[in-house]
Amino acid sequence: MRSVQVLFCLSCLLVPFGAWAADDVDVSPFFGTFKTMCADTRADPDAVVKAVSGAGGLASAPVKVDNTIAKEWRISIGGRVMLVSSSAGKSPAGAHRERQIIDCEITSLNDERANLADFAKWAGVGSEPDTSSATSYAFQEREGAHLANTGNDSDEHWVLAIHPGERVTTVQLMHVMAVAP
């Protein structure tokens, strides 16, 4: 059984959303696309539409599954083909509660395993993600800073998940709203 890795929140802290400016020249096209489409938009579906429109994305038909509406685009940036996905919907949070979740994903049809460190830094973590299995980071955001989670399951928070692969890599940013009473 693959050992479960544990990282502690050593450097998590106080990393503003805007810490990675658009003129960062050393970031990969993959991270740059994530920053523009998902992070700067705060995963807001309307803002994602505007961002991907500006990049000339080609949209697929929207999909509605249960209470979630999903939209997909195909873009090419820096010679890299990527898919941008956005969704918004209400999800169960226990037997009689629900919560709103918005999601923004960038899927690169390239080997991006060497370009994952920027994502961990953006989330506020010093350690690099595992390049052989999925990694997720949960954090809270207060006035632009990334903070450790409260541990209260019902609180609003953010999740960044990375699914690395040799031929395809997906990064996923979820904004999980507080549980509705």
Partner: protein, 168 residues
């Protein structure tokens, strides 16, 4: 680290889970969900949550690899089988979210986060793969619902692209 943490496959502020689902971790048989109790929400163990999350994440990645990275050559039967599998997993994830999830004493939200993440990842993978997930225009946008079956989908790995327009 507490004893609770030892049972928590997602413990730590940063949760790690095997995307391939092939790490030998016991998983929930897809055809055999936990029995329901009529008076209480179904309870899930950490291993059950991790098993289903791994299954869903692994299947989503597999869809991207088979349909998007390597488009073409897919039969209608293969698409139908994958669609059924994606919908089955999606239903199980939704059912799990309505149940009683194990608590992580270290960081709380771990289990629910991973289920939500797997659900969205799988949904987008299924749509991007063009295996025929029901497609409809949101009513709020003024469109009528429409759908197409597997045989009508192009075998390009993507649903037909459209330039972004006033629909959105």
């Amino acid at each position: 680290m507490s004893s609770d943490d030892d049972d928590n496959p997602f413990h730590g502020l940063y949760q790690f889970f095997a995307g391939s689902g092939n790490d030998g971790t016991p998983s929930i048989p897809v055809s055999d969900p936990p029995a329901k109790n009529s008076s209480a929400p179904t309870s899930y163990t950490p291993a059950q949550v991790k098993g289903l999350v791994d299954e869903a994440n692994g299947f989503a990645t597999d869809l991207y690899n088979r349909y998007v990275v390597t488009p073409g050559g897919h039969t209608a039967a293969e698409k139908a089988k994958d669609l059924a599998r994606a919908q089955q997993l999606q239903g199980q994830l939704s059912q799990m979210l309505q149940g009683a999830l194990p608590q992580s004493t270290a960081t709380g939200q771990n289990y629910e986060n991973n289920i939500h993440g797997a659900s969205d990842y799988l949904l987008h993978a299924a749509v991007n793969s063009g295996i025929g997930w029901h497609v409809q225009i949101p009513e709020a946008a003024g469109g009528a619902a429409f759908g197409f079956d597997n045989n009508e989908l192009p075998d390009s790995g993507l649903v037909p692209p459209q330039k972004i327009g006033p629909l959105y």
